[in-house]
């Protein structure tokens, strides 16, 4: 492990072009960074009589410009995992209503209450640990999850799992939230529009009050 470290560090330095590019800005921090690197390399080359001199030379030499790749995780979500079985449960009022009934019958409500959570997380806040598309919810139902979600795959007809997934997907829809009448939400679930799960990739949040384009380009002269 120690012997690999200088190599990967060198690669990192070459790619970034500067020894202190990893997320630090300012004047004091780069100094600390160099110091840290020197210390690390010193430790790595421990035992070599001339190790210190070599290590200190690394950050300032062998810098050969930016090496980039086409990989951009998190920017453009290509839906290669789209499950064709999900299609039937979009825009399907019957599915969400059946799912609501099953949600109680299989004790989902015991942990997730009327969508607000309890033993298990809230399902109405639009925050998803394992993905919020209908097919991802279905996958969570099938597989279970490590923090306490049981796995239902093979124990419950798969169609019912899709119906429960549709209901769960519906709970955070604006239409479903707006229909709440009283202290118990999720009683009139809206069907899940297909558009709700279409991921168009990253974009600035719709409610930003200043134009991201300007920020990107820099201020006008």
């Amino acid at each position: 492990m120690y012997s690999r470290f200088p190599t990967s560090l060198k690669r990192h330095l070459r790619r970034r072009g500067t020894p202190c590019a990893w997320g630090t800005v300012g004047k004091a921090v780069p100094l600390m960074c160099v110091g840290t690197i020197v210390a690390l390399l010193t430790a790595c080359n421990h035992g070599s009589p001339s190790g210190n001199a070599q290590a200190a030379a690394v950050p300032t030499t062998n810098i050969q410009g930016v090496i980039d790749s086409a990989l951009e995780p998190g920017v453009n979500h290509t839906l290669i995992t789209t499950d064709p079985r999900a299609g039937a449960y979009y825009d399907n009022p019957q599915a969400v209503n059946d799912g609501k009934r099953l949600f109680t019958q299989y004790n989902c409500s015991g942990c997730h209450s009327s969508g607000g959570g309890g033993m298990g997380p809230s399902l109405m806040d639009g925050q998803w640990i394992y993905g919020g598309r209908l097919e991802q919810i279905h996958q969570t139902l099938v597989e279970g999850r490590p923090n306490g979600m049981p796995s239902w795959g093979g124990k419950v007809p798969d169609q019912q799992l899709w119906e429960i997934a549709a209901y769960v997907r519906s709970l955070s829809l604006p239409q479903t939230l707006a229909a709440q009448n009283g202290p118990t939400p999720s009683q009139t679930p809206a069907p899940v529009p297909k558009s709700a799960d279409q991921d168009t990739g990253w974009a600035p949040p719709p409610d930003t009050t200043n134009d991201y384009g300007t920020t990107l380009q820099g201020p006008a002269d």
Partner: protein, 629 residues
């Protein structure tokens, strides 16, 4: 009554519409009117008039030995008095009380444990993942001696009904002994923090977890399971203190041989007499998934050589699915500590309809009653009554309400049974409104303290009621088995909590401090006549034990639901320690993954606690206080 939700509902809906995606809390429902509950005069009963002249209430020296300044078990002593005789702090000087140190627990779930102090070391067990810390009190700043991470299986979080809490450990013979959420009991070497033994007791696939503090006495470790909301069958187990090996296991439902009922079983009341009542008082096989768990307090009686432990609610909550008394749920057992053999049992709430677990603390006292000194246990039940019980035979001597009660009309002292109020019987598909106390009780697990100086019990409790509708529920192993849609609300007066100083001899409150939120922390009372407790909005307070005047308070980083303790430091001075970290059932709306828009969330608790996120945030810190010196 039926319209009480209308205005808040309209407001909440309007706010939701306006705010779009932002989390808009429900409005806390209006309090239940004063005349909805009974007065103590209407429903309090005793077998004899008070005879305070017959003696002074106190714990026996066997059960509450002379205070050595340590705090080695959550209950302080076997009598569970949580009384510290230290008297450096007094009403006159408590205003100078200052924080001496704080220590982050690195866990921001509800912290219900008592800090433990033994041999100048302070031990803490956190909520899941149940880290254990040992701090060296002899050095400045109390540096960490060791930390132990038991790594409970993460899925155990999914079977913990009411936040992933832990109520503490105990030090005995060089070991720190505690339980993990995934059902282990572990003994650590106090010097090294390394396990000397670890025993798996529960199975999360059945919904079992463990949150209670083990009781260590007489070479044995007593442990019970949690899972009353998941159809888990309750038990109490004794382990050998030195090896962790099982000595006995007593089930709280089922046939007599499982419950360890034999010829020595002599319950006081007729309805508790018979064979296999733990089977016969249930629909067929329902006792196997009927709850009766032991997740609260066990008292060991060193004087009479007995243990006393409560039993939790029957499952499911929907009472219409389990006709019968549902023995031995929502009650109490006296068992032989060596064998587990039951000597007597009693149900506070036979055929419980309202989730009134019987697992709260029992304080073991010698107390004047009917002109004589009696060996009693005082139990502050979820159902709202202070029970004074002759602990030699299980006879209820008095039962008086200490909180809002209308689900029952008193306890019939001839039969021992509560007199049910037909207006508050729960029904399938029909919401029964304004049931008091609420499901979490007039008081939950949070333990009281007793001062031999004042003769008073300092009860931290709730003032909350609820609306309840039964729902049909199926049993699926490892999932909730509840069957009720509950919405809680404040009790009469609107203050959701209180600390009450209760005189068990005179059967009445002496003073009461009202709090906005339920008081979910324990209390400790000291030889300087101070009572310490914390609030869910993050105040740690000291009250005058005689008058209830708040003399000092300090704001900590998060709400308090832990157990304060008082100990003598290596320098000879008195210290007060408490964990902050809001959570638990009542605080899940802050510490848990819970949405305040769903009033039914967290088993109906969110309805009454939806404003808590405006007052506090999740945290988890040890605070230690002392006078400047």
């Amino acid at each position: 009554m039926k319209t009480s939700f209308t205005v808040p509902t309209l407001l909440a809906t309007l706010a939701l519409t306006l705010a779009g995606r932002s989390a808009t809390a429900q409005t806390v429902p209006a309090p239940v009117p004063d005349n909805e509950v009974f007065t103590p005069e209407q429903i309090g009963h005793a077998l004899a008039a008070p005879t305070p002249g017959a003696g002074h209430a106190a714990a026996s020296p066997e059960n509450a030995p002379q205070d050595d300044g340590q705090w080695t078990m959550p209950s302080k002593n076997y009598a569970s008095t949580r009384y510290s005789s230290l008297a450096e702090l007094t009403p006159a000087n408590v205003k100078q009380l200052q924080p001496q140190l704080s220590f982050s627990l690195a866990v921001i779930k509800g912290q219900e444990a008592a800090p433990i102090v033994a041999d100048n070391t302070l031990y803490i067990v956190t909520a899941y993942p149940n880290y254990v810390y040992a701090l060296d009190l002899t050095k400045p700043g109390a540096p960490l001696k060791w930390k132990f991470s038991p790594w409970p299986v993460p899925a155990s979080q999914g079977v913990a009904c009411c936040d992933v809490v832990n109520r503490g450990g105990s030090v005995s013979h060089g070991k720190y002994i505690f339980n993990t959420l995934d059902g282990q009991t572990i003994a650590l070497d106090v010097k090294t923090g390394k396990p000397l033994w670890r025993t798996q007791l529960g199975n999360i696939n059945l919904g079992e977890s463990i949150t209670m503090a083990p009781v260590v006495a007489d070479g044995r470790v007593y442990v019970g399971n949690s899972g009353g909301e998941l159809g888990v069958r309750g038990w109490v187990i004794a382990l050998d203190e030195n090896s962790g090996k099982l000595l006995w296991k007593g089930w709280n439902t089922g046939p007599d041989k499982d419950v360890l009922i034999g010829p020595q079983f002599k319950p006081f009341y007729t309805s508790d007499q018979g064979t296999d009542l733990g089977v016969k008082s249930w629909p067929p096989d329902a006792w196997k998934i009927g709850g009766g768990n032991m997740w609260g307090w066990i008292s060991y009686d060193a004087e009479l050589h007995m243990i006393y432990h409560g039993t939790g609610n029957p499952g499911p909550w929907n009472q219409e699915q389990r006709p019968g008394d549902n023995k031995w749920t929502a009650g109490i057992f006296a068992r032989d500590p060596a064998t587990g053999t039951a000597h007597w049992a009693y149900q506070f709430s036979p055929h419980d309809e309202h989730d009134y677990d019987g697992i709260n603390e029992q304080i073991l006292l010698d107390m004047p009653f009917g002109g004589h000194m009696r060996k009693v246990l005082v139990h502050l039940d979820r159902n709202g009554y202070v029970y004074v019980i002759d602990r030699t035979n299980g006879q209820v001597l008095s039962a008086d309400p200490f909180g809002p009660v209308n689900s029952t009309k008193g306890v019939d002292l001839q039969t021992g049974r509560p007199i049910m109020n037909p207006d508050k019987v729960t029904k399938l598909g029909e919401t029964i409104r304004d049931i008091c106390p609420t499901a979490s009780g007039a008081k939950d697990w949070q333990p009281s303290s007793f001062s031999p100086r004042t003769g008073l019990i300092y009860i931290p409790h709730e003032n909350m009621c609820m609306d309840w509708m039964n729902e049909q529920v199926n049993y699926i192993a490892g999932t909730p088995y509840v069957g009720a849609l509950v919405h809680m609300k404040p009790g009469p007066g609107g203050n959701r909590g209180a600390v009450t100083a209760w005189d068990p001899v005179q059967r009445k409150p002496v003073w009461r401090i009202k709090e906005n939120f339920p008081v979910w922390s324990g209390t400790v009372v000291t030889g300087g006549d101070l009572v310490f407790y914390g609030t869910m909005d993050g105040w740690f307070k000291a009250a005058d034990a005689k008058t209830g005047d708040i003399l000092w308070k300090y704001k900590v980083d998060s709400g308090i639901i832990g157990q304060p303790v008082s100990y003598k430091g290596p320098d000879g001075h008195q210290y007060i320690a408490i964990l902050s970290g809001v959570g638990g059932w009542s605080g899940a709306v802050v510490s848990g993954p819970v949405d305040p828009r769903d009033g039914s969330a967290a088993l109906g608790m969110v309805s009454v606690m939806s404003d808590l996120p405006k007052y506090t945030t999740a945290g988890g810190t040890l605070y230690v206080f002392a006078l400047p010196h």
